[in-house]
Amino acid sequence: MRTHTSVSLPILPLVLLLAPLGPLFAEGGDSGQGPFTFHLDPVAIEWLELDQDTNSSKFEEYRDLDSGLRIPLLVLKGVGANGDRTLDFTAENVWRDDARLGLDYALAGKYGLSLSYDKIPHRFGNDAKFLWNRTASGRFEIDDAVQRANQAALTAQFAANRTLIAFPFLNNLLAPQIASARSIDISLERERTRLDFDLGTLQGLSWDVSLFHEKRTGLRPFGAAFGFSNVNEIVEPIDYATTETTTRGEWAGKSGGVTLGLRSSTFDNGNSSLSWDNPFRAVDSTDPGASSAPGSGSINGSATGRVALAPDNRSTGFFVDGRWRFTSGWWANANASKTRMRQDEALLPYTSNSAINTRGGAPFDASDPANLPIRNADRKADVTNLSANVGGRFGEDFGLTFRFRSYDYQDDSRRVIFPGYVRFDSNWVSTGRITVPPAFKRTDLGTELNWDVTPSTGLALSWNRQTWDRELREVEKSDEDIWKISADSRAIKNVTLRASYETGDRSIDGYHPEAAEDSFTNPGPLVTQPGLRKFDEAARQYDAWRVSADFLFGEAWTFTLATNGRQDDYDQSQFGLISDEVRFVNLELSYVPGAASEVYLFGTRSDRSTFQRGRQSGATVSVNPLDNWQIDFDEVNDAWGLGWNRRYSERWKSEVEGRWSKSDGEAEIFSPPGGTPDLAIGFDNYEDIELLALKAKLDFTLNPRVGFGFWYLYEDYTIDSFIRQGVRNYLPGALLLNANDGDYRASLFAAYVRLSL
């Protein structure tokens, strides 16, 4: 259950330590002395009353609107005696899980300090059924007696009639345990603290230091499996800490400038691994088919699963920015940065299954980390980024810009050979594997020509060539030429027109499907369709366009119509993504007859179509076209809104807004008869989602010091998703959390008093 925790400010001591340094550092020192005068903006104290028909986590996914008290916004502004010092304090959603606090102190033109604290909840699902108990920070256990009973039942059935070890038997076995399982809410909370310290100017160079710390705590759904038929969805305990520091010096003048700085970021995970009990086994065991257990072929496997969680890592680097104005008025900008990313976490053994040893089909005791070729990950990657542009005006009406950018990612870690691996902690697979550190370089080179056709109409033409150089991937080199033409015009009075068209053509130097086998020490025959082209590397053509028009009618009416679209075609791809097309239309209308009233209407529709093809294979790659299948996905999204803000007198004002959005998706699937699959059935709930939100507010000002009001929010959310269709706690091959993040209907009533102190 959630609790309203108190605000902690871990960086506050540091702020107090640094604050006195500002005046010492800033040239001229602190000239502002004397007491502050504070002004408190009108502050509301609000009572919320929530009525929700289900316990879906979706309503409060990123917010806290539970019943109770809150202060939506409090702003306190202070000014020093001689006016040059300011001290501002801001608080939002006080006493809530989504609270935000801010403190700003500045001496005008000298230095400044900004401190903020922000809580962001993220609720994934409520009322999940969970068989496990957390016995340590990264350890989830099931009562040993339950594991033993399940193992015994399976052993008996395997001996009596193994063919009956299928879903009905397993479902009956788990049903009483699921019925008595505890219920948990799955969510995490981000607590972000940021300190920006403008240290002022020293020798013409202004310096600032920023510190950022984020603590993430809570639970997140996590996929865990003991085999193809024994998937467990559990929760990952989140105990993440991210700390980032940036020190930056800048000299910025009228005709040139330079910025240089250092940046460091560290990530620490309080849980380096996660282990969880197998519901069906109490004792480790193995056999060659254990990764399909429990089933008619095997009931063996590990008693406990263990997975490596995100490792601690750090990133450090420097950056230099420069700009330079030529006498002609042209500007040149450049940026260079170098970053090293490292992680050296201790590796887990191949498995937690103690039965996988020389007697269990492995060349050694796979649960002993001493048998690993390396004990620590020892990974490092370098990023070198260079960019520059130069641009300006020539002639009366022309502008020209040249751009260049190079982003080079090199994972310098050594390739590590593993003689085999353990599949799902169940059985040893003696296929040698080797790590594949990625390396790639992306280069952009382009130019843009602008032409002011008239003082109110401009045209722009641009060309950009994007080049990729990769190692150890299917496409080692690709070039994409992108042309774009755009026009902006205000030639017609009270009308603004914007339009653009862009086309891109990516060519590749060849596609090497065998690169997909680079992680095998002894690659065998190709196991992927040779006609597959991974879309992120594949040759493609695309066209994109955008048109928008803003109209102003008289003094009160404005109308906006905008449309854009993009189509990507992967013509050389026989399998995988073949095409992707999206079209979007937006219209807005507003009527503002005066300061007392505003009416607005908006609507959007986007339609996305995606087409992909596959071919089903067995143990070897199918060459039979009858095994093909293809899917047309279509997603139509509509969103409409209507609002009316009205001030009736100096005392009364109201706001009303309604918003409705709907996503309607469909998957049309086809497979030719005679192959495998033989018959395909599509579905029309490729994420069908509808949200209706209505909000109304009435505000009354009693006198200059006191006001009060009410607001009401109604939301009705429904989701019909194929991926959750028929999902229960136990389904063939899967024991799931089945948390509630679905439909809800919520009414929220709020009453507030507003005080001007």
Binding site: Y62, T259, G322, R323, F404, R405, F575, Q612, N637, V727
Partner: protein, 324 residues
């Protein structure tokens, strides 16, 4: 790329950085070079020259007619007392000398309105003071190139936002006033907490201009994502190359109808690149859904990610398939 071109481009990057650094060290590279902000220059100028002779009317003269504007300004950073420490010219710090206008207030041609200036001059007015920090790369930036100016988004006199003096109530709403398609994306069920106000467009993009595509603030899309999702930064023992090259291969950061901001729902997203033998190439249709006749754990719920849970990269020795 041709090595000569590459050398030339790298030389250009270096020259620009050195050029900027030379300025920092005090070498004048252009006539009229000054390290002082214009407002500070104007202050010095005003102190040295009598008001009438310099063409300045003084703030009192402005307020005499434009009292409502002054009242609005008082609530903003430019109206706070500390502003006078930066410039003693008040209104004329931005609007320029107004004496001629004060003497002939009905002459429209003499109205010192910022709006009637060209976009470049509008921005130059603001950049007299605001030229560093986030504004460092304004020139040659995408918004500048499309003819926008500072006052396209900011209002000095009547801002609606608590911070940054925007024309809309928040940075996000400001961006959405033009980028309607992005706004529509954020209304989808899977979204970053943008519409809840917990993050804004400016957390990832710098609308004033950057050296990177789409005006993101980091060196690449992935570096941008890692700034919050640091657990995915690695580098890992077992890598997923498409992940390392771009998060956008699989995710739609502004919003999606599918879990985890996926561009296409799993398992089909994975099958856009993986057509291997056995289960990666299999068809998952309606019969394999949770209540289907051939219910399969490879389509419902987390689908592929039930087993391949370390899809962003794994540190487990037994995880070449990004499971564990």
């Amino acid at each position: 790329m041709n090595p000569r071109i590459r050398i030339a481009l790298f030389t250009f990057v270096g020259a620009t950085l050195v050029g900027g650094a030379a300025h920092a060290l005090g070498f004048a590279l252009a006539p009229g070079h000054s390290t002082e902000a214009p407002a500070a220059q104007a202050t010095a100028q005003a102190a040295a020259v009598p008001a009438a002779a310099s063409g300045y009317a003084g703030t009192e003269a402005c307020v005499g007619c434009h009292g409502d504007q002054a009242e609005h300004l008082e609530k903003t950073p430019h109206g706070r007392a500390g502003f006078s420490k930066l410039s003693s010219l008040g209104c004329e710090s931005c609007h320029g000398p107004g004496n001629a206008h004060a003497e002939a207030p009905d002459d429209v041609a003499l109205y010192p309105r910022i709006e009637k200036l060209s976009a470049a001059k509008q921005s130059a007015t603001c950049q007299g003071c605001h030229s560093g920090g986030k504004q460092f790369f304004w020139h040659n930036g995408r918004h500048q190139a499309r003819g926008l100016s500072c006052i396209s988004c900011h209002s000095v006199h009547s801002p609606k936002s608590e911070r940054a003096q925007l024309k809309q109530a928040s940075a996000t709403e400001q961006c959405f006033s033009c980028h309607k398609d992005v706004r529509a994306e954020t209304w989808k069920t899977s979204h970053h907490p943008i519409r809840e106000g917990k993050i804004s467009c400016a957390d990832c993009h710098n609308p004033h201009g950057t050296e990177t595509p789409k005006m993101i603030t980091a060196a690449s899309v992935n570096d941008q994502c890692y700034s919050c999702h640091t657990e995915k930064r690695g580098p890992f023992l077992w890598e997923h190359p498409a992940v390392r090259e771009s998060c956008l291969n699989c995710h739609s950061p502004h919003g999606s109808n599918h879990l985890k901001l996926q561009k296409t729902s799993v398992p089909y997203l994975c099958q856009q690149c993986h057509a291997n033998t056995r289960h990666p190439g299999s068809l998952y249709d309606a019969t394999t859904l949770g209540d289907g006749a051939r219910a399969s754990n490879r389509i419902f719920n987390r689908a592929c990610l039930d087993c391949h849970s370390a899809i962003h990269g794994s540190n487990h020795p037994s995880s070449p398939y990004l499971g564990r």
